[in-house]
């Protein structure tokens, strides 16, 4: 017999919206991170009214609700760790309503981020946040996780482009946060509180985004270095020279070797680090800036500096950067991808610490990431069937977090806390910081039904990557 709440829910929003079959439930039990948790029902919602119905019912019957976009999350946000309902937002009809005069877009939560990029471009505008999953992920998921991307260096992340939200609270009430204006200091900034709250405070059902004029031209530069230190120096010298590139990415030698083995892309394999830069702006000014940046790279002893002359040549460089993820996956099948972030000046120190960790736990650790904003992606390649190896990986990950925090950094630059990093929260924020967050959570969600088991660790909880 179906649970009483399932029947109640089916009566309110229709049977076809509520899936309870075995195959249905199992196919919403995972995301792009670790762990599988079986929900009791999958509910596909397509309107704010339906979300209200779900939340009212769940709140009355005390059933956990976990919102989910396309399940690309790398920190466990959409995992129904306490069972209950997976609230699938991905089938909500896509809608991007641009007001060119205001430079804003009103979007529905199920809209793919790439669709917003495309719609903005039609008006000569740009929505800057560019997570690498933009062609798959929904804006609802990006908002909940406060997604970043390479352009974060110059343009910031998702939260910097949200000016208004419609949210259904855990008790099923509809609330508006922010509005349609760029400046807005009316009351607490609940908009920014919701963005990045990982679905534990409510369900985002609409958002107003800020757009900017699309820069007319871009120029790419690639430079390689014999040591991590000189690469780090080149990055900080560039950033203090009065030039702010749109992107400043770096990959280490292990990544470059992996890419060349996977799909030869013309990356130098003899360098300890490769830095890839994109400048954007007016054609004339970026040409001046490109010369300055190249000069800096050379003066600091770059092994090679390449300024591609055609858009195709530039695209090839960025394609090689994109190849890093699939290429390193060939080393071993399981990829533990972290996003510990440090103050920019600490990048060389952090990479030195990562080298020590690689040695100490004898794990296959490679590093790439958004060097310009200090957001590194240390990736450990392992095999989740090897329990002994995974134990070492757990320890290594713990030490990566510790290193980031000791260097004045943070656990997560853009992936979120979710299930994976919750046990490290107190190390970064202190007991009071975590307690204040928890009080906010309790005030918003008195029955604790909204995406439980995320952000806040349970007593004794620790990082587990094995099937124990």
């Amino acid at each position: 017999m179906e649970a009483q709440w399932i029947t109640a829910l089916q009566q309110r929003i229709g049977k076809e919206r509520v899936q309870t079959g075995t195959a249905d439930r199992h196919s919403y039990s995972y995301d792009g991170s670790f762990g599988e948790f079986l929900p009791e029902a999958v509910v596909q919602v397509r309107s704010t009214a339906e979300v209200v119905a779900v939340m009212e019912t769940a709140n009355a019957f005390l059933v956990p609700v976990t919102p989910r976009g396309q399940g690309t999350c790398l920190s466990g946000g959409p995992l129904p760790v306490k069972g209950g309902i997976v609230l699938d937002m991905s089938q909500w009809p896509s809608s991007v309503d641009i007001t060119p005069g205001d430079l804003t877009a009103r979007v529905s939560p199920g809209t793919l981020t790439a669709a917003i990029h495309a719609a903005a471009e039609e008006h000569g505008l740009m929505y800057p946040p560019d997570p690498s999953s933009a062609h798959v992920s929904t804006i609802g998921g990006n908002l909940a996780e406060n997604s970043g991307g390479p352009r974060g260096l110059k343009y910031g992340v998702t939260k910097d482009y949200v000016i208004g939200l419609e949210v259904v609270t855990p008790e099923g009430k509809i609330m508006q946060a922010g509005g349609s204006t760029i400046k807005n200091v009316t009351g607490f900034d609940l908009t920014k509180l919701i963005v990045g709250s990982e679905g534990v405070l409510g369900v985002i059902t609409a958002a107003t985004l800020k757009l900017i004029p699309k820069p007319p031209a871009v120029q790419t530069i690639m430079a390689s270095f014999a040591s991590m230190e000189t690469a780090g120096e080149a990055i900080s010298t560039t950033l203090t020279s009065g030039i702010l590139p749109a992107k400043m990415e770096f990959i280490d030698q292990a990544c470059a070797l992996a890419v060349e083995a996977y799909q030869p892309s013309g990356l130098p394999t003899d360098a300890a680090a490769i830095v890839m830069i994109e400048l954007d702006g007016n054609e004339e000014s970026i040409q001046v800036e490109a010369r300055q940046v190249s000069q800096i790279m050379k003066e600091l002893g770059a092994l090679e500096v390449i300024e591609p002359k055609t858009p195709e040549a530039a695209a090839a460089i960025w394609k090689a950067r994109k190849m890093v993820s699939p290429a390193i996956a060939k080393i071993k099948p399981t990829k533990v991808s972290e996003d510990a972030t440090v103050p920019r000046s600490q990048i060389p120190a952090m990479t030195a610490r990562l080298a020590d960790i690689r040695e100490k736990y004898s794990v296959s650790l490679v590093v790439f990431g958004h060097a310009g904003d200090g957001n590194l992606h240390p990736n450990i390649l392992c095999d989740k069937r090897d329990q002994e190896e995974m134990k070492r990986v757990e320890l290594a990950v713990g030490e990566i977090f510790e290193a980031a925090i000791e260097l004045g950094g943070t656990l997560s630059g853009e992936h979120g806390i979710g299930t994976m990093k919750s046990s490290f929260m107190e190390q970064e924020l202190g007991a009071v910081g975590v307690d204040m967050m928890r009080r906010i959570k309790d005030a918003w969600d008195p029955n604790g039904i909204m995406n439980p088991g995320k952000i806040f660790a349970e007593p004794g909880q620790r990082l587990v990557l094995t099937d124990e």
Binding site: D24, S27, H135
Partner: protein, 434 residues
């Protein structure tokens, strides 16, 4: 019910760990778009196959998700970790087939099509000849008027009215076994006729061989060839697929040719993967590799020979519906487009999302008719909203589906095989002097 161990072995369970569940396959999957739920996406299906192999869910949970997969393989080129989805899918289908859990109707259709008709050239010729008789005698008109054809098993009737006129049995049997090149010989090829192409689109096969000859290839039609086995492999009839592959491999070994050329994206995709049917290190695996090295789509050979000159402009705007198996398995995408654009007067206008499957997918449009029609609706919206008069395809299933789709959606477009279009432009050998 088979034990999960069989599924583990057949779907290559250990390789399923290559899937990191990133979801990059979701936007590429036609059934995820039309069925709007994760169990009908590649990522969902892989998860379910894995759980079934581990014995955590029953095999019956796989039937619908696996049965509704088109097998278009659009998920494979976009997969960042290169998951071998085709092998997993075929393995799962094989285990399901062995356990006969399919609906009775689907079993009946697959049995009559795949176990008796299609592997037999005689059987397929009979189909062609009967269709000819049916069309010639005026029965076709009568049946259409009386709506008799809609009573045909499943949806076969719906496709009947878009079938081309069939050649007479006499014309069929008069086909020469060898055609010399129309210019100094540049290549020697064996022509793979394909079951559906040869029975339903006999004339296109004739045109294909003519084109090859004009382009400088001598063409042999080996009598010993048999069905490629694609439909068998896709429906889980592994043993039959292996048997057919062996026969074709042997056939080619007897011949002194540069290539075995086909004009059906689906056949080419099956043949180019013959090595996957045999265990690495075995003699048959070696022999299969020698075969696959010679498999070419006709567009690849024509583009490589680069020896055609078109004498008659075709003043039309066209759009191209690529065969999924040609794009995603054979990875042939440039040659067909280059050939179309070589025709004077042709303007190629790409439709939105050309790589989205048309829903034909082997016998999918027969056994999963409703799902197929939902996918076709999406395709016809994209094809119909171009300002073109012709849809060009490179596979018989797609061709039938496009002919049917254009009629159903009343787009006013005609659908042709690329070979037909090339012939309309009256090709001659490049160096030919008038």
């Amino acid at each position: 019910m088979s034990n999960p161990g069989t599924l583990k072995e057949r779907m290559n369970y250990e390789k399923s760990f290559d899937c990191v569940q990133c979801g990059y396959c979701l936007p590429a999957c036609p059934t995820y778009e039309t069925m709007e739920t994760e169990k009908h996406s590649p990522r969902g299906r892989i998860q379910l196959m894995k759980l079934a192999a581990e014995g955590k869910i029953g095999l019956e949970e796989l039937e619908e998700p696996v049965g509704k997969c088109l097998g278009c393989m659009a998920c494979m080129p976009v997969c960042p970790t290169n998951v071998q989805y085709d092998q997993m899918l075929e393995g799962a289908k094989r285990v399901i087939e062995d356990n006969k859990q399919k609906p009775k109707l689907q079993q009946a259709v697959e049995h009559s099509l795949l176990d008796t008709l299609i592997p037999s050239a005689a059987g397929m010729n009979t189909v062609g000849n009967l269709t000819w008789l049916y069309q010639k005698t005026g029965l076709q008109k009568a049946a259409q008027k009386l709506r008799l054809s809609t009573l045909a098993p499943l949806a076969m009737g719906e496709f009947e009215k878009v079938l081309p006129p069939q050649p007479s049995p006499k014309e069929r049997s008069a086909r020469p076994a060898f055609r010399p090149a129309h210019q100094p010989e540049k290549a020697r090829v064996a022509f793979f006729t394909g079951c559906v192409m040869d029975s339903m689109f006999f004339a296109i096969n004739e045109q294909s061989m003519e084109l090859l000859a004009i382009a400088g290839a001598s063409v042999i039609v080996p009598e010993e060839q048999t069905c490629c086995g694609a439909l068998h492999a896709h429906s889980g009839r592994h043993d039959k697929a292996v048997e057919l592959a062996k026969q074709n491999i042997q056939m080619l070994e007897e011949l002194d040719v540069d290539y075995v050329v086909n004009n059906a994206g689906g056949c080419g995709a099956q043949m180019i993967r013959y090595d996957h049917l045999f265990e690495e290190g075995t003699v048959w695996h070696e022999r299969a590799l020698a075969f696959t090295n010679k498999v070419r789509d006709i567009t690849q050979v024509l583009a490589d020979l680069d020896s055609l000159r078109f004498t008659k402009p075709v003043n039309e705007r066209i759009t191209y519906q690529p065969s999924c198996h040609m794009t995603n398995v054979q990875r042939v995408t440039e040659a067909p487009r280059a050939l179309m654009q070589a025709i004077p007067g042709i303007e190629l206008q790409e439709m939105n999302d050309p790589n989205f499957c048309c829903g034909s997918a082997g016998v999918y449009n027969l056994v999963q008719h409703e799902s197929s029609m939902n996918i076709l609706d999406v395709k016809m919206k994209d094809a119909g909203s171009t300002s073109t008069s012709t849809i060009v395809t490179t596979n018989p299933g797609c061709l039938l589906q496009m002919k049917y789709g254009a009629e159903k959606a009343a787009t006013g477009q005609r659908a042709v095989h690329l070979v037909e279009l090339l012939m309309e432009a009256e090709p001659v050998p490049k160096d030919y002097k008038l």
